[in-house]
Symmetry: C2
Subunit: 248 residues, 2 copies
């Protein structure tokens, strides 16, 4: 049996906050005992805030390109500028959509720049600079505080081509291999399976979203009872290299 | 708290089997009490088998196009033929990949035609003809047997552009609205959220995959403790219409 619990009562996060300590304390208040092998899923939003990876739009001067794009998109040109600065490639800019490749290689809307759940209307959050490192820091902090080995996933909410609606995915991992590889394994009848690599870190992030309601401040979930492949994995393993992508 | 349990000991499914009865009995053997508001996720593979929606390749005559494609793909031409017959559109055929639009509108590899977990090397499974209806039938069977209202999701394993690895998604739903719509709702600070529609049926399918190990015969999961929007939804709501798809 797998269980998923959302951590409530996590305070507003400020730059410099120790997320591992805050998570450990919130779990303790709820009577949740974290154990070896648990997975802790953390919304990237609080990671970015703790790391100070946020931007005040009043400090952003839009370029001519941002001004022009902002006009067609009916957007704040400083917001468009903030988005373009976070990108290293354009996958598609059309109508009011900007699907970009982030500096990490993730393909998502607005290069992960987001105004939601930010105090004050002029602030935007950026993705963490190195989400694997952020996950590692939280993992090590929990290990130090409680002595147990958990996996940590930093999550964001991404759209998908072909399908309506967004789902949570993993943008940073620590203490786990994010993909379960069934290639070459037999199925129930010992056929060789068609190429089957399951993106378990993305599935864990999606499962956690079910308790991380967007609007009510549950930025952390604890998943117990799932046995992931342990190891020093990276969310970069989930990024399809541009040259192996059929859709770029 | 959300809990996810995989149902073990489900027998090999044959054409005509009553899946609702089989699920109810398997749950009872494991001491699982299904309750109002639970979500039952069922692998499409056993649905297709129960509905006889399988094909023996020895009954398939490949067309010249299938013969030609099979050569470049080093595939059985009858398998290629079976795949093309299930498609209503081509998204991309390149090297050894066939990304097709199924008759239902889903975009996936091989139009959902699959040889894994099939008895005998000549058999392939197709997607259920009407996966929403399949889900509805199971939902009604469970209601009849136990008197409780569950949601049912029929799932399949799909790849994604841009990201490595496959995840489970919903191809049929009953008793739930598959998308949670936050548009126009405020966040913690009462900003209007950027367009945010969460594909909860896909997230539930992904969560269920974590207990539905590909190779060891756990084709059904019971999810408790998640409050989905009730109603007569359809997995077609998860399909992005071709004309609103940025990537076709």
């Amino acid at each position: 049996m797998i269980t998923i619990v959302g951590l409530k009562g996590i305070p507003l996060i400020k730059k410099g906050d120790d997320l591992a300590r805050i998570i450990v304390e919130a779990a303790a208040r709820q009577g949740i005992v974290m154990r070896d092998g648990d997975t802790i899923v953390v919304s990237h939003k609080i990671v970015s805030k703790a790391e100070g990876n946020v931007l005040n739009l009043k400090d952003v001067n839009p370029s001519p390109v941002s001004l022009s794009l902002a006009k067609t998109m009916a957007e704040d040109p400083r917001h468009v500028e903030a988005i373009l600065r976070e990108a290293r490639g354009v996958v598609k800019i059309v109508e009011r959509h900007m699907i970009l490749e982030t500096k990490h290689g993730f393909v998502c809307a607005n290069a992960g720049v987001d105004r939601s759940n930010m105090e004050g209307s002029e602030w935007v959050s950026l993705l963490p600079k190195d989400p694997d490192r952020s996950a590692r820091t939280i993992r090590e902090g929990i290990k130090k505080a409680l002595g147990c080995n958990v996996a940590v996933i930093v999550s964001d909410t991404f759209g998908r081509p072909w399908r309506i609606g967004q789902v949570n995915v993993a943008i940073g991992v620590a203490g786990m291999i994010p993909i379960k590889d069934y290639r070459g394994k037999g199925d129930m009848f010992q056929h060789i399976l068609r190429v089957t690599m399951i993106a378990i870190a993305d599935e864990l992030a999606s499962a956690a979203e079910l308790v991380m309601n967007k609007s009510d401040g549950v930025p952390v979930a604890v998943i117990s009872g799932y046995s992931y492949p342990r190891g020093e994995g990276s969310a970069r393993e989930l990024v399809r290299p541009r040259e192996r992508d059929l859709f770029r």
